[in-house]
Symmetry: C2
């Protein structure tokens, strides 16, 4: 386990402490969420937690949870108690970019269904403003993708079809991913509103005002950030 | 051909007059669009029009166009010259509800790509305010559909899964359709904005401010309506 992995695990362990017996828990996707799922499985196996059921945000996380014996259920109408996921970028206000793993639509459905949504990651993901380093992933329907890319370019970003035109990456929902590369930080609220209005866009990787807290690990240990509105 | 079909055909014929040789034309979906496609095919066969290429908004319309020898192309990045489609409801301002045929997402992508978007139909579709008769179709991803329905119910509508839970209708994009039944007319702009913000919603059947004109046929012949902004 390298330093980055140790930090991710340290952040994941803090989030697992929020899980209580009887909870319905949303599982994120990606290298950091993987640590959370592993630790959750370990606590269930050890009998430290009981009657926890989980909703995975990807087929990848579902496979991992099933292998660990974590009971899986469909996302219920009444929502979830808690959801925990990694991120590609996060600000001090806990606005985030997600979707590098390609599961952004299910991740957002799961996160928005949770009464508490918690981000975990290492401190290289912290930014002053969104767009400093990460591209913004957008899930789009296949039909008309060249036209949709042209509309996305009008937002001031270079829209790259993930995987390329010959072998495009396909999401669990059967859609495509366009990664928007802005020149630098952008007005996240304005971009989110504009993206929602583009026909052909299924969902985008801006998670604004959704997280309640974040556990960010680095050299100095784990820092807990709480959202301004919490 | 019953009266309703005669009217639909009369409206379609007026729209076909807008097609010029060399145009890229978007083809709608449904019983009225079917007349437009048939008449367009007839004019191409008769040599009255040449070098027209079409982008169909559904597999159904693609099959019809191919059978008629209308050249089909992918939606190009630069958009379309004209798109013609039917509707479920239309106001005097040319705001419309579409999606009864289940093709609303591709229809909206095609309509928004067209420099001129024209609605055709019979006058039983005219309403003073949207929601008088037609349900509002919403295309949603399969994942978390019960949770998405719960969120849609919060908009003040009864969300019915088209086809039912056992045999749900599946769109050309592989998604599901939820028909929102409001008690009566609703604030279309507010509902459109709220729907765009629901994770899990791919697209909705509100086509607001998109149509440039409409040809509406009835007992008294064909009425041409022009959008306020045109």
């Amino acid at each position: 386990m390298d330093a980055s992995d140790r930090w991710k695990r340290a952040a994941a362990l803090r989030a697992v402490e929020l899980v209580e017996s009887g909870m319905l828990v949303g599982l994120g996707t990606g290298s950091t969420a993987r640590h959370f799922i592993a630790d959750l499985g370990a606590r269930l196996s050890a009998g430290e937690l009981g009657d926890v059921r989980a909703v995975p945000s990807s087929e990848e996380s579902e496979r991992q949870a099933l292998a660990l014996g974590i009971p899986i259920v469909d996302l219920p109408a009444e929502g979830l108690d808690l959801a925990v996921d990694g991120m590609d970028e996060v600000t001090d206000e806990l606005d985030a970019i997600k979707g590098l793993g390609g599961a952004l639509t299910r991740e957002k459905i799961v996160a928005s269904a949770a009464r508490r949504f918690v981000l975990i990651g290492d401190d290289r993901k912290r930014v002053a403003r969104l767009g400093e380093r990460a591209p913004l992933p957008v899930e789009v329907v296949r039909f008309g993708v060249n036209r949709t890319r042209a509309l996305l370019r009008e937002l001031g970003a270079e829209p790259e079809l993930r995987g390329g035109a010959q072998t495009p990456a396909v999401t669990d929902n059967g859609n495509l991913i366009v990664d928007l590369r802005f020149d630098g930080p952008f007005d996240a609220a304005a971009v989110a509103e504009a993206l929602a209005a583009v026909p052909g866009v299924v969902e985008h990787g801006l998670f604004l005002g959704m997280a309640e807290r974040a556990f960010i690990a680095g050299e100095a240990g784990v820092t807990e950030l709480v959202a301004p509105s919490s």
